[in-house]
Amino acid sequence: MKQLILLLISFKSYAFFLITNNGAAFNSNKVKIYISSNSTCTNAGWTKSDILNMAVDGAKDTWNKVGRADITVKKGGEYNTSDGDFLTGELCVADSDTTCAAGTVPKVSNIIIACNNNGTNFPSNSVLAISAPNNISGTKIRGSVILLNDRADSQLGSFSKSEMEKILAHEIGHALGIGHSEDKDAFMYHTEIQNKSKLAKDDIYALSHLYPYSIDDMSCLGFLGSINYPSNKNYWNNGLMALSIGFLSIILALSFFQYAWARLSNNQQKV
């Protein structure tokens, strides 16, 4: 009995954190991810196309699967640049009120990955990657960068492809505006990311906080697939509409089956 009582009252506490104090997020529900064309990633131990594909696959297995959040990370391609600051510059996280010094990683749009060897970004090879929005205006993230450790002693090449996908998914989480979690099981925990298997609640709630579906986005019969109700925000209350139509269609389907069943039973009686 004591065990049962403990079970009922000792529920876990959750807390997610965000990178900005105003919950800044991308304005679009589709964000593309690119890799800078001048990255060589020699020390990181992976080719540019490997890194981009692992990042996209990492996002597909994590953030893109969250049904309650309106965000999809998609593959962009190579981001054409010859700006050496992507490779050697310090990462400067700036909102609209602060400016970054010359020589820092340039402001970007979408998410740009670069292989970087700046000593402030990577004081040792134990820091695998760093990422943050570096182009923020008010509550909107315009662009984020993900920098991979490209120091001579980089450890990144020693990870497997699936471990790299998880590490990159964690960095994409930062790029989308999510901070670290204190939950050891969260993808956004600060370490041992390569051993995670699924997103934890903190991750999910952080993402749905940053990318919520508004009541106007709710689609009719959305629980079945993707039959979109024509979205007209002034029409009525779409949420109530979705609820009503969904419910009515269930009732109609049930009535039909009840009717069919009754007809079938009647026929059998006649025979």
Partner: protein, 187 residues
């Protein structure tokens, strides 16, 4: 369409009556997500408050508007919190006096809030300041409800499932709610 819905409701209101109210407590489980190593591996527990009204359609069917509120405990030093509000509409098929099956639809509202508390958390070789949310934001999702309940005396044991994009293996989300309610007759 609005008129059709109203007409259907009015027709039913005319044809029969609201008959009782149920209030209760339960546990809510969000299945798809990783549970903590330090706590129960199978489920993460969270208390639920719910109220349900029954409205007779005929001898074997009743209509149940239902409201559930899932409360996740606030983190002790961050003041970020999560609540789930679920207004829902179920049709109940009374198989017999005790055993009832339910089907319906709900709007699951994932509500997150906080007061922009700062927190220093480990990051790389040092620490970084992160923030809990500065405002309440709600994410809305329409779910399919399937469940059953078992009535005895003035109490009901309810099992409800909530599924989102049931036929989409990528985005599918399923939650379970086990609850006990007490029936208060109002008519």
């Amino acid at each position: 369409m609005k008129i059709l819905i109203l007409a259907l409701f009015c027709f039913h209101l005319h044809a029969s009556s609201w008959h009782d109210l149920e209030l209760g407590l339960g546990q809510f489980y969000e299945l798809p997500y990783q549970t903590s190593n330090s706590e129960s591996q199978i489920f993460q527990l969270s208390p639920v408050i719910l109220s349900k009204i029954a409205y007779n359609l005929n001898d074997s069917w009743e209509l149940n508007p239902l409201f559930s509120w899932v409360i996740y405990q606030e983190h002790e030093n961050s003041s970020s919190n999560q609540n789930i509000f679920i207004p829902q509409l179920n049709a109940t098929y009374k198989y017999n006096q005790e055993l009832h099956f339910t089907i319906g639809t709900s709007v699951v509202i994932y509500s997150t809030s906080g007061d922009a508390t700062e927190e220093e958390l480990p990051n790389g070789t040092g620490e970084t300041t992160y923030f809990s949310p500065s405002e309440r934001r709600n994410s809305y999702q329409q779910n399919l409800n399937l469940g059953f309940n078992y009535q005895f005396d003035q109490y009901t044991f309810n099992f409800d499932s909530y599924s989102y994009k049931l036929f989409n293996s990528e985005l599918r989300e399923v939650s379970l709610l086990f609850s006990f309610t007490k029936i208060f007759e109002i008519n």
